[in-house]
């Protein structure tokens, strides 16, 4: 039962992260603009974030789906989700009327409280792959001695 739960969470969260990375990988300039609208990231780091974040999302998502480095990937997913929640909260506090830039860089979903709920649920779904001993049918069992 635990293995099924871990497998389900891994595939769901991993799939979400892979999907979220694709448009950003193709349009780094547009994603840089989306990040800049949050007014959090300093300009010297803006393009680096626009390059790096989608790749980290893709690598994390792939690792979760395949079940390789499952706990590390889940930890990264938790960390990224927390960062997203901080960004969204910051935008809400400052009444910024901006697109979230979560899944696509062409407009997309506006920043709102529903995004906090969504990310909160995503964070909770990262916990079983992070904490469980069982890999949930992951490929990492083939790499064990």
């Amino acid at each position: 039962m635990k293995a099924i739960l871990v497998l389900g969470c891994r595939l769901f969260v991993g799939g979400i992260f892979i999907y979220a990375s694709l448009d950003k990988l193709v349009h780094p300039q547009a994603f840089a603009e989306a990040i800049s609208h949050y007014r959090i990231v300093p300009y010297p780091l803006l393009h680096l974030c626009a390059h790096l974040l989608p790749v980290v999302e893709f690598v994390t998502g792939s690792a979760l789906v395949l079940g390789i480095g499952r706990r590390g990937a889940a930890l990264l997913a938790c960390a990224m989700t927390l960062v997203f929640m901080v960004g969204i909260t910051s935008a809400l506090i400052r009444n910024l009327d901006i697109s979230c830039g979560c899944f696509n860089t062409d407009g997309g979903h506006g920043v709102g409280f529903d995004l906090l709920w969504r990310d909160g649920i995503l964070f909770l779904l990262c916990l079983p792959p992070l904490l469980a001993e069982d890999s949930g049918f992951g490929l990492e069992r083939f790499f064990r001695k």
Binding site: Q29, L52, G69, G72, D106
Partner: protein, 172 residues
């Protein structure tokens, strides 16, 4: 004899060293992949951002797509496709002129008989404001004062039902 199955519950703190080590390894992979991707992309985004482009201090005011559609129908404005790189075959707004940042002077000279500073223009691109604003600034330096930048670029125009035509790199 009753055998106790191996525990599947994590011991306190046992996940931390493993997850930190794996996360570090995944970040290393991501850094390497980012570097390779940045190196290989011909249209790559520079590693350093120009703050001016992100302060949204645009060289020309933005115009929403609906009023732009109305102005297109009236025919009083000239449309300028200012996308930085166009493939062999691409979509654009019918009748649009082409001015890119790389060949700005040549492009402007080529259209000398067809447009002048007295005309009114709507510049559009792929939705990214920075390159379009740069071209608007350069046009203003040449005396072209009546400029708008189409918000959302060609994608917004297409989504709003604006006319689209196919063009090839040789202008046909």
């Amino acid at each position: 004899m009753l055998q106790v199955p191996p525990s599947t519950t994590p011991t306190a703190g046992s996940w931390r060293p493993v997850s930190l080590r794996e996360a570090g390894l995944l970040m290393l992979i991501a850094f390497l992949a980012t570097g390779v991707s940045w190196f290989l992309r011909s249209d790559g985004l520079s590693l350093t951002a120009d703050p001016i482009g992100y302060e949204l201090e645009l060289a020309a005011p933005l115009i929403q797509v609906d009023p732009a559609l109305a102005l297109y129908d009236e025919g009083d404005y000239l449309f300028v496709d200012a996308r930085p790189s166009l493939t062999d075959e691409f979509q654009t707004i019918p009748g649009a002129f082409f001015i890119s940042e790389d060949s700005f002077d040549d492009d402007l000279l080529g259209y000398f008989d067809f447009m002048g500073p007295e005309d009114r223009f709507i510049l559009f691109g792929d939705g990214n404001l920075l390159p379009i604003s740069n071209i608007a600034a350069r046009m203003k330096e040449r005396g072209y004062e009546n400029l708008f930048i189409l918000k959302g670029g060609l994608a917004a125009w297409r989504a709003a039902g604006g006319e689209i035509s196919m063009r090839t790199g040789d202008g046909s």
